[in-house]
Structures are given as C-alpha cells and as structure tokens.
Subunit: 290 residues, 4 copies
C-alpha cells in the first residue's frame, strides 16, 4: 500500500523503515530534506496516487495543526489524513470537521512503543470512522506487533488520542511505582544487591513488565544510576490525564502524584517548602536553611 | 533433592506439585491431613534424611512463628528451615539467631507468582548465608521460571522478605495505576470500547505487563466487571512498605495512595468525609446527606 | 452609597442586610420577587442614579454570564458591574472587554465568609482597575470585617476570582487535614474523648483556626457526627485549582488529594477498585466481594 | 503550687516564666547550670516538698527516657512525674507501669503553642488518671490560655501524647495546604500582590487561622521568602501519625503527602526520579540530565 509519512524523526523515521520492511511504499517528508523523499508537501501529494493516505508524525500542538492545514491544501476529496502524533484529543473532532468540508477523511491514532517499536511493533489506538479504519488496515497491520494484540479501534474522532493519553497517564504511575520501590530498596540496609532483586522480578513475579525489563537494562548499564540526574520532563499527556480525571470526577491519586513528582524534579527550590519553613520558624523558632 | 514442605494451601500445594514434576522428593505436611504426607511434624522430620531441608509456607505472623518453633523441636543441628511465607522482614534475624542456638540454619524467601507459579515458575528473593543458599539451589532452580530471571540472593537474613515486601508495595502501585486509567476510560465519553483499548496495550505498548494481561483476561470474562465489588483487602506488605518509606524518609506518594485506596474501599462510610460534610454545613450552610 | 445587588439568596441576601446596616442604599433584585426590590433589571437600573454600581451574586457559569449580558443592556457608559459570584477567573478578562465596548466598567470580587459573613464581615479579593476599586471602596469597607484585614486588590481583571479560587483550594486541604486527624483519633483506642481533644485545640495550639472552631461546634451539636453521611460536593474552585497547578507545574498533592476524596465520597462503588479486585482475583485467587 | 521543671530550653524556659507569672513556685533544672535553679536532679528533689510534682520538658526518645529513670531514683512514692515533651505515645503506658512499681504517678501531656505559648498560653492534652489530673489542675490552668479552650483530659496513659501526635499530623497538612496555595499564587500571572491576598484572608475568610497569621507575618518580614531555603525537618510526630493511619487502616493522603514533601525537601537528588529518568531514556530515547 502507498503512504505519505510526514515527520521522519525518532518515531517517524523508524515507522517508515518498519512499513517498508513490510512491503509498503512510503513517501516520507521531513523539514530535514536529507532524510526526506519529497521536497515539499505538494511534491509528496504528487507522488501519491489518489485516494491518498498521509500520516503525520510531528510534534503535537501548533506544528501538527499547521502541518495538517498545509496538507489539506495539497490533498483532495477522498484522501485520508492520519495524525499519529501526541495531539490532544479535543483537537480531533474539530479537525475532522474542518477536513470533512473538503471531503478529506481523518483518523487519529495513538502510537505507543518508543524507540523499540521498529523491532517490536507499535501499539495503535485508533479514533474515527469504521470505513477509513478498514481501508487503512494494511498499514496498521504492518506497524502493530505480530499476534492478536496491539491494535484497537477505540471509538470516533478523538478516541485514539484519548486512549493514548490515558495510556501515558498509566505509564507515569507505573514508572513511579517502580521508582518508589527502587528508592526504598536503595535506602534500606536490608537488601545488599538491589539490581539483582530487580532482575529477579523479570520472570515469575507479579510485577514483571516491559518497563521492569528496561529498568533492569538501565541498571545493567549503570548499577547506581550515577550518570543520571533525577529530572524528568512531561510531555502533555500526563497533565491532560489529570485534567480529565478532574473533569470526570475520577479520583486519580497515583497518576496525579506521579505527575507532581516530575514537576518537583524540575524545581531548584520549592516555593511551597519555603512557606513551610517560614511557618515552622514563625511558630516554633525552628532553624531554617538560608 | 529431598524437601519437607509445611502448608499445602493454594501456594504450598502448587509448589509441591512443581517440585515433584522437577523430580524432587517432597514430604508435605498440612493440618488438613487429607492432603498431608505426614501425620505430624515429628513424622515429617522422621521421613527426611539429615541434613534436612524444610520449607514453611503458612500464614505469616503467629502461625509461622509457632510452626517454626515446633519444627525446631523435631529438627537437629545442621538442618535448614526456609520460610517462604509473607513474614515481616524484622522477624527473620531474631528467628535465625534463635535457630542458630540449636545449630539449625535459616533462610527467608520471598515468593511471588500467585496461582500461576505452578506453571510459570515463582520469582524467589532469598535472604541468608551463601552456604545455605548454595545448598538449596536445586530446589530454587525447580521453583523458579526457566531462564536467567526469577531468582536473587538479596542479602543476609531478612533481605528476602524485605525484597518481597517492596515487590508487593510496587505491585499495589502498578495495580492502582492501571485501575485509575481504567476508571478514566470508563468515565469518558470518548472511548467506546474500553476492553479493546486495554487489549491493544498487551503488545507493542510501553505499559505492557503481566498485570495488564490479567486485567484483559478479567475483562474478557466480565467486560463491565459487573460481578465484582470495588473492595480489596491488604495483606501486610503494603503497610510495611509505607512504614519503611516513613522510617527511611523516602517519599512514597504512589504506594501510600494505593494502600489508602484499599482502606477506603473497605469503609461503609468515611469518618473523615463526615467531618468535611460537617464543616461545609457549618460555614456555608451547604446541604448534607443524612 | 447606592448599590444594585442581583441575587438575594444565602449570600446576596445577607450582604444586602450588612450593607444596609452600614447605611448604604441597596436596591436588590431577585427572580423571587417576594424578596426583590425591583420587578426587573430595567427597573433596578431606573432606581439607581448614574453612574450606577451593580453587584451580581448569582450562581457561576451560564447564569452569571446571562445576568451580566442582560444587565449590560440596561446600564450605560460609566456604570460599574461587580461580579461577586464564584466565576471562573478566565471569564473575567473577556467579560471586562465586552463591557468596555459599551463603556461599562467591571470588577471581579472573590467573596469568602459563608453564612457567617453577615456578622463577621466578608473577605474580599478584588480584580480590576484601581480607579474603580477606589470608587467602590465604601461598599467594600461595609462588607469586609472591621480592622486591617479582609480586603485585597489582587491585580487586574480575573485576579479577584483567581485569589478566591486558590483560597478555596486551600480550604479543601485544610478541611481534609482536620478530617484525617479526626478519623485517626476516632479509630484509635488511645483517645477516649475526641470532641474534648478537638475543643482543647481552639486556643493555644498551632492548629487553631476558624474551621477548627466550626468542627468543635459541629461536634457539640452531634458528638459522633451520626446524623451525617460522609458525602461532599465540590463547587468548581477545587477543580480549577488543581487544573491550575497542572498548568503551572506546581506539585499540589494535598489539594488534589482533598478534591479526589470528595469525588470518592460520591461514588457508590469504585470502578478503579473493581479493577484492583479483579487483578487480585486473577493472580492470587484472592477472594472478591460480589 | 510548687513544681520541678526539667529542661529549660525554648519551651521549658518559657513555661517556667509563664508559671512564675501566675504565682507558682518553679524549681527549674537544666544541664546548662547558668539557667538552672538546682545543681542536680537530687538537689531539685530536695528543694521540693512531698508529694512532689516534676515536669520533664526535654528532647523525646532516649534523653526523656534517661531523665525520667534518673528522676525516679530521687523521687519517692506519691510523687508525680509529668512528661510534657514529644514522647511517642507507646512509651507512656510502660513508663507509667515502671514508675507505679515505685509508687510514683505519671501523666503524659502533649503541649502545643511553640514560642508563642509564653504569651498566649499552651494547649494541653493530658493522658493519665483523673486523680492526678485533678491534683495538677492549678499548673494546667496557669499554662493554658485564658478561657474555656486549651485543655483536655484525653484518656489514660498515652492519650496526651497521642492527641498531640495527631495534632502535629494535622499541622503538617494545614501548613502544606497553605504552602501549595501560596506556590500556585506565586506561579500564576493573575495575582500581582500575593502577600496582600494572604493578608486579606486573615479576617472574614473561611481559611483564617493562626498559621495564616504567621504566614502573613513571615511575608511582612520577607515578601518573597528570599532568605529561606525550601527545606523542612520533621520531628517524629508526622511519621508516627502516618504509621498510625497505616496501622488503623485510615486513608491519610493529605498528612502522608505533607510528610513526604518534607522528606523530598531534604534530598539533593531523588533516587526515584533517577529511575524515572532512566526508564524514559530506555523506552523513548528521551534526553536526560547528567
């Protein structure tokens, strides 16, 4: 099958490779023309036979918005745009409506798998109409892992990105659960060989997971994690998940705490803890650090 | 190798079966004599050749304490007792010392794997001296999964149960991260097919894990989890993990929140929320439920 | 000074009384004409001399929006509208701009004090331009408590409602801190007279506060809080505060946890805990409640 | 009334002054003989008429334990020891029993009020037998604030320290609620004058409290809290409160989060966040800080 793919970075570049390995014809476009197969979006559109299928894999927010708007200029009725980036789910329905005016179809796809997807396949969560989902099945089949898992038609426009957002919220919580356990093990005088314990959990245990495999891998490379600073960015989905929990009145202690821990990791000093220190000094004459 | 195994319930019974399948000779003892291979601990001791190896797999706390004390009466110097139950890690060093007075060796082993261990093998975290760990290797090899994972000599007496305790604390956090994500998906109007989304994550995604496989399995059996009440006991390790976080000054928001959620699930009404309702009524004249 | 006051419910009615007691002339309007001083907004406008000052104290959201729009129809350039309801801070700047087109000035005021404000005065947090704040000072002076506290010009349009929103977020956290302590005292076997302990904290202690006074008052009325259900609504500001914490990358564990506890208090059963129960059953064969 | 008072630091020194101002005769003892009224515990005992009343106000833990043991050597049957320090509630009943063997009575008193107690009075929570509580009433009356509040006989041995422990747990939560609100206000672009907003809440608002007064005071002295580091110790009671919540199965999200925030404030780097950073690098190739 023929596919245009916009954005050939860490994710998009790997996806192009996996798709080509599966026998699909991929015309890639990237601002970095060295890796691009087309000099412009217009040329990309020319290189594809109608009805065209074009997948965007660019940073979420304004860049995705602009890319899809420009793309809509060079596509025509009957074509399909798939946004596989980390767009916010609320962008999808309005976008689908705008494109529908021109007769262009739209699917939103949440893509998980990270840098390992090229080898293991990507988990795909798709939002949109069944007809387009059906049409694009060969592409999804090539990107997803072998076997029965790794693909869901989650619902209508926005459902794909919504499912991916919640996926990432869960991911925050999972990572932080391991991280807290790791810190307790490190702090304790009881366990002498923390990496060995982590490794032992990789099979047979209730906590076995791919993230645990990766933690073990990281500890193999750097048993004390000495080379790292305890600093983590967040990419939007964690925040949106907490906002959704708030909107939907869902108690989300774990996901919120994991997100807040990331915020904290990026602070040089905590204004809140300054206030606590000020209060302790005021009522108890407790010593403070200056 | 020859082994005495005390406690033939859900865990111990399965372990006997797995050990026998691996060619070991297991003399089991249980209060329920129908499943027992010996009529008493004394008979169990008689049936084993010295130096004996006896594994206890009974409920933690007083029952384990009593069992080991009674066992110590019928064993002799050079024998080894392994406690594979969920004992608190602080019990192990004193217990090892008491047994050492009689020349009996002691190992504490954290065992993970649940009802699946009989098939998949159990993850084993061991605390104690290297000589005994070495001696018992064939038993550990038979119980653990095939391959390089599933076994760690974590440290000296108590390290095995400590590692298992933290393992379970992490388990609480992992389960709750999935649970919160599941609830958000259920509450949202965006995702129409929640079980399909969960299933899609089983391969290719960053959140793939054995627990996720089990959640998918549960949703296959009961897509709305209608048959279940949102009620969960806790078995000690979660509480001890939070106590350890407090003792060691480790921030453990996620594990503590997961534990507190279980507490909450068992309350018919919340005294704390009654106080909140009382306050809202007092200052704002807000309506209350009676 | 002359003032129009729209919305004569629990808050507005009390405010009218307090303003009149201070010698101000208040023309009140309410849908309930029995308590209203004017039959319509038009009549209210007629009864006030230009430049008019009209204070809205109606439910936040669409009702406030509609009321202010209708009010703008009957007011004229130079008049001032003050919204003292619990509007979202993001509504204020656009509203001020819309009104400015007609030459109508706007202030947003966060009002705290509950049903006690009529007697104790209300804490007022004001957003808007200094000229209008100055003009309305006599009204603010009459509403606020005696003494130096209870009033702040917090910033430009939206600052008043923003300050009130954070105030309420803090309020959630304070209430829940007391509530958790109360529950621990109740659960413990050590303290025999919980209400006496609460009462002892009202003077001399570090935790003395008005909310504590109210908790003591509630316990005087109902020492076991038997008449109440542990159920609490939330009125928007708590959610917005958490959303703001997320937007601004501020760790807000306490405020978020207090909000989540309210969500939980309104659930008959927890979908998240059903998932936890399902997982425990799957891996451990743990008993579940049906 | 006559009283021995051991420990003349920040708290004990102030209490001696307040008691003397009320007309009581206080014989103080401190290791620092410059402030001490007796050269030794023996001399202190000699200076008091039987039945003696001796109040200890020394650091909790071993120092309190040792002091009371030494004191018991120089006191006699019928005397009363009051421990007003921050002892753990579990120490009290065994201590009372040990003293009872010698016929010495014991009361445990939780004392709140900090450096302000000398002026405002101290809130006192007392554990022990009614007869001794009655006997010591004049002392309690002198220490507590004027009026009906500030004193409770909470229960039997341990109840006083238990009530004080929960008091401090609540205190952690209250402080952190204000601290989070403060940080959100500081981070936001909406509120220009944060100290003015805090000040406005001191009267009329639902969140008015003594801690808020102190926060305002701190901001008067240092409007940006520039001179402080966001660092806070914890003094035991917060940890014990969380341990009690865990023991009693009480959900205590807010108090635990406040405690964890203090732990975090003392870490140069977070091992947990290193693990999170490691995981993000492993699966996503996300940039890390080194």
């Amino acid at each position: 099958m023929q596919l245009g793919l916009i954005g050939l970075g860490r994710m998009g570049g790997n996806m192009r490779e996996r798709l080509r390995a599966a026998g699909h014809e991929v015309v890639g476009y990237d601002q970095n023309l060295e890796v691009s197969d087309a000099a412009s979006l217009a040329e990309l559109a020319e290189k594809l036979a109608a009805p065209r299928l074009v997948w965007t894999m660019v940073p979420s927010g304004q860049i995705t918005e602009d890319t899809i708007n420009q793309l809509a200029e060079v596509l025509e009725a009957g074509d399909i745009i798939i946004d596989g980036g980390n767009s916010k789910f609320t962008d999808d329905a309005p976008r689908a409506e705008r494109l529908a005016v021109k007769g262009i179809h739209y699917l939103d796809v949440g893509v998980s798998g990270g840098v390992w997807g090229i080898k293991n396949g990507y988990a795909l969560m798709v939002g949109g109409d069944a007809a387009q989902v059906e049409h694009c099945k060969p592409i999804f089949e090539a990107l997803k892992p072998l076997g029965e898992f790794g693909f869901a038609h989650a619902g209508t426009h926005g459902a794909g990105h919504y499912a991916k957002m919640v996926h990432n919220g869960i991911e925050y919580g999972l990572m932080h659960a391991y991280a807290e356990g790791y810190e307790i093990l490190k702090a304790s005088e009881y366990v002498h060989d923390v990496p060995a314990v982590i490794k032992s959990w990789r099979e047979g245990s209730v906590v076995k997971s791919w993230l645990l495999d990766l933690l073990d891998r990281a500890l193999d490379e750097d048993p004390e994690l000495e080379a790292l600073k305890g600093y983590a960015d967040d990419t939007g989905e964690g925040r949106w998940t907490v906002d959704e929990a708030v909107r939907l009145a869902v108690p989300a202690h774990v996901i919120a705490a994991s997100l807040f821990a990331r915020f904290q990791s990026r602070q040089d000093d905590s204004p809140a803890m300054k206030a606590v220190a000020a209060l302790r000094q005021q009522f108890g004459g407790h010593a403070v650090k200056r």
